[in-house]
């Protein structure tokens, strides 16, 4: 039996009151619910406050470069599809520096669960605008307010027909944990955008701001229906939907590779008979 204690307790470098604490709690809950032992799981993260999260969990972890967690995770998963791979990083990491990888991972549909700690700001570098910062958001780097429109990750993911697209809020731990469990269960790429208050640098999108707006999608909501998903994806403002917004069952990326049917790449030995066969082409 895997218990929450297996995932350990750590001191963090986060600010008291930060939404990241609840996300970590929800992650642990989800892993325990799914009875995944620490060594069966691998977290990949980038750089930022969110990206430190896997360090506060007793598990396998690759904490890479800012913005580059998705390609690392893709490589890991192709090498060893047996691992349950979660990616955890910030909105800057995934929608800013790493935007191109997000597009690619959606197109590929690699079996990863991506948790974006979306605090609508760059936390670790002390409060510049992030791609999800609202237009007009004022920071030291944007003293006259952000001149760009915010990035809507849900809308883009639904438009691209990503396999699993959900939104959650760090303030609703049970719901968030449920989303993570579903994301892990989903065979293919799962994007979970998690609204997360940053108490130090985002004084606009606070806990109360999110809490007032977030509402769970109704039970009869059909995430398989693309058209309504596209509409829900665009809801933002006084009401912010949380839950599984869109889902389909495109085959996972890994399923396209015949070579993976013989087992993971990692344990494989060189087959000399085949090499000799290959060499014939050069004779």
């Amino acid at each position: 039996m895997v218990t929450i204690d297996d995932y350990g307790k750590y001191e963090t470098a986060w600010c008291p009151g930060c939404g990241n604490f609840s996300i970590s709690e929800a992650v642990k809950k989800a892993l325990v619910e799914r009875q995944l032992a620490p060594h069966q799981v691998l977290f990949v993260s980038g750089i930022g406050q969110a990206a430190k999260a896997p360090h506060y969990l007793n598990t396998n972890l690759f904490n890479g470069l800012h913005g580059r967690s998705l390609p690392v995770a893709t490589g890991v998963k192709l090498a060893n599809p047996g691992l349950t791979v979660l990616v955890e990083s910030g909105d800057g990491c995934n929608y800013g520096e790493g935007g191109n990888h997000l597009l690619a991972v959606i197109r590929r549909n690699v079996d990863l669960t991506l948790l974006v700690h979306n605090n609508q700001v760059y936390g670790l570098t002390k409060g510049q605008a992030s791609p999800t910062s609202a237009g007009g958001f004022v920071t030291k780097a944007q003293p006259l307010g952000v001149p760009s429109e915010p990035f809507n990750p849900i809308a883009v993911a639904v438009a691209m027909r990503a396999g699993f697209v959900a939104r959650a809020f760090s303030g609703r731990i049970e719901h968030l944990s449920e989303m993570i469990q579903q994301g892990i269960a989903h065979r293919g790429f799962a994007l979970i955008d998690v609204l997360q208050p940053c108490v130090s640098f985002n004084k606009v999108n606070t806990f109360a701001w999110y809490d007032k707006r977030c509402y769970a999608l109704p039970h009869d909501y059909e995430p398989d229906d693309w058209e309504s998903a596209m509409k829900v994806a665009c809801e933002w403002g006084d009401k912010i939907p949380i839950g599984v917004i869109y889902r389909n069952n495109r085959p996972s990326f890994e399923s396209h590779f015949n070579v993976l049917k013989d087992g993971p790449l990692v344990s494989r030995k060189v087959d000399k008979t085949r090499l000799k066969d290959i060499m014939k082409a050069y004779g």
């Binding site: 060594h39 690759f62 390609p71 490589g75 690619a104 494989r268 085949r274 000799k276 060499m279």
Partner: protein
């Protein structure tokens, strides 16, 4: 020399199929047992322009390209104009009589009489092949090899064209180009530098390769992709080069020996990933096939101007090894060595080649697959109960377990970290980790490939070189020796780490040292000075995008 050493140049527009003509002739020559050195010259376009495929063929070993052409196979009139000046005194131009060009040494072939237009390349093969003494059946066999997949009727028609071409050439009995037969021809394979690298990687145990297309590296990965199913590997085209190297790092971390291949501009995008591999101590082999820069430069030409860039790529300080193969065999064997070192020292290892070598077909002795060992990623079990991915050890090498393969947890971090792999700001640990990583360089130094000396140890003239120019420099020195000069060559196929003890005596004993490089600033000469204090004032440099040849070297030295 024409009886034992011929230079055949096939020229035409992109899209005319001159590479196929070249490959079929080359393969026929190799199958017969001859030695070849191919030089491909092409433009950054798909149709039109002017390309060439030169095959220097030798009964004895040939090692370098040659500029003067004995047999010019002109697939269009422009080829005649562009290359006639390079024709050797008794050289011959094979051309279509319909070009309406005339000249002394012109063999006008009635292409349209011999076949339909779409088979005129086969006619060119047949005529040229017959003139140099290739057997019709041998050529037919090679034709089949290349066209076999396209269906029997096409093969048949090609064969017909070949037969008619050979017949025509025999009837016109052109003499002076016939190469001698072998009584006991050696078995050889034909491959270019990129193919040899991909085969070296496969035999080493490569399991994952990510790439973004970039000339002249692309054919490495195309070759791997073609064999992927059979070899049980995955080759993935990434969305960009940043993704490519990060994917490879991820796959390698998980336990799949990994490689990326690119060229200057693409590599520029990978350098942050190089630093990542070093900090996380993840094995990775990186092939940089050089082309002339800066920026987009000349995408399809050759140069050796990224030595310093690759040597210092990535922020921060960390050990690395750089191989610079000089032959096709070295492409194969040094790739294998690169995989071994990457695995042993857990970090980035480079192969620095260039367009000339990447595209240069040669004849190589089969590699003896049975004797070749392959690597296995990581360790399979930990001896201690407290596993620490970055345990501080005397040689700097920490035990590498693979995540998910044991119950031990594997924690890797791009931040400075504790022995367990967790992020730290402990500055004493920082210092110890810097020193641990640096200690790995000692091991690498202890097993460098020493430079290759050809000639006397105390030469009057010592030619220093690295990478793809090995053959050209060696031949240049050998020509000088035939002229009575005591010339030697010292060639580096591993350019980092440099271990001065391996070569300082030779440098010091030489009367005069000249460094030969395909770049404008003499980067290797500078590196030698940095590492040894030895100043090489004289240089032969080339930076017009063409490969070094023995003629070029001799001419520049005599200026």
């Amino acid at each position: 020399m024409r009886d034992r050493d011929l230079n055949i140049l096939i020229g035409g527009e992109a899209g005319q199929g001159l590479v196929t003509v070249g490959q079929i002739l080359s393969k026929s020559l190799v199958r017969k047992g001859y030695s070849i050195v191919v030089t491909q010259s092409y433009q950054s376009r798909i149709r039109g322009g002017h390309n060439s495929f030169a095959i220097r063929v030798g009964v004895d070993e040939v090692i370098a390209p040659r500029k003067s052409v004995d047999l010019l196979v002109a697939l269009n009139g422009d080829t005649v104009i562009q290359h006639r000046d390079h024709l050797s005194p008794e050289g011959l131009v094979i051309l279509d009589d319909s070009f309406g060009l005339s000249g002394d040494s012109f063999l006008k072939v009635p292409f349209s009489e011999l076949s339909e237009k779409r088979f005129s390349n086969t006619v060119a093969i047949g005529v040229a092949g017959a003139i140099i003494g290739l057997d019709e059946n041998l050529m037919a066999g090679t034709l089949d090899y290349y066209f076999g997949k396209k269906g029997a009727s096409l093969v048949e028609k090609n064969r017909d064209a070949l037969v008619r071409a050979v017949k025509w050439a025999t009837e016109n009995s052109i003499s002076g180009f016939m190469l001698p037969d072998f009584s006991n021809p050696p078995r050889r394979l034909m491959m270019n530098g990129n193919e040899a690298i991909s085969l070296g990687a496969l035999t080493s145990g490569l399991r994952f390769c990510a790439f973004y297309p970039m000339t002249p590296s692309t054919s490495i990965v195309l070759n791997l992709a073609g064999h992927a199913e059979r070899a049980g590997i995955i080759v993935e085209q990434a969305e960009d080069e940043i993704a490519a190297i990060n994917m490879a790092v991820g796959a390698s971390f998980a336990g799949a020996p990994s490689m990326v291949a690119t060229s200057g501009g693409g590599f520029a995008l990978m350098v942050e990933g190089v630093s990542l591999a070093a900090m996380t101590e993840t094995p990775i082999v990186i092939v940089v096939a050089q082309r002339p820069g800066p920026a987009t430069g000349l995408p399809t030409r050759t140069e050796q101007a990224d030595l310093e860039f690759v040597l210092h790529s990535g922020h921060g300080e960390f050990p690395r090894a750089i191989f610079s193969p000089g032959t096709i065999e070295e492409c194969f064997h040094l790739t294998r060595r690169a995989f071994e070192l990457a695995e042993r020292y857990q970090g980035p290892v480079f192969l620095l080649t260039d367009q000339f070598l990447a595209d240069s077909y040669r004849a190589v002795t089969p590699f003896g697959i049975d004797q070749l060992s392959s690597i296995r990623a990581g360790e399979q079990a930990s001896e201690t109960s407290n596993y620490a991915r970055y345990a501080i050890t005397e040689n700097g090498i920490s035990p590498r377990l693979l995540p998910g393969m044991t119950e031990h947890l594997v924690v890797a971090d791009s931040d400075e970290h504790t022995e367990e792999g967790h992020i730290t700001e402990d500055l004493t640990m920082r210092k110890r980790m810097v020193e641990k990583r640096r200690r790995k360089e000692r091991g690498m130094r202890s097993e460098v490939v020493p430079p290759d000396l050809v000639g006397e140890e105390d030469a009057d003239l010592l030619l220093l070189s690295w990478g793809s120019s090995k053959g050209a420099v060696t031949e240049a020195a050998s020509l000088m020796r035939s002229d009575g000069l005591n010339a030697s060559t010292l060639h580096f196929s591993q350019i980092w780490p440099l271990v001065p003890e391996n070569f300082m005596d030779i440098l010091r004993q030489a009367e005069k040292v000249i460094c030969i490089e395909s770049n404008a600033t003499g980067q290797f000469a500078r590196l030698i000075r940095r590492e040894t204090g030895f100043n090489i004032e004289e240089k032969v440099l080339r930076y017009d995008g063409l490969p070094l040849t023995p003629e070029y070297i001799l001419r520049e030295m005599n200026r």
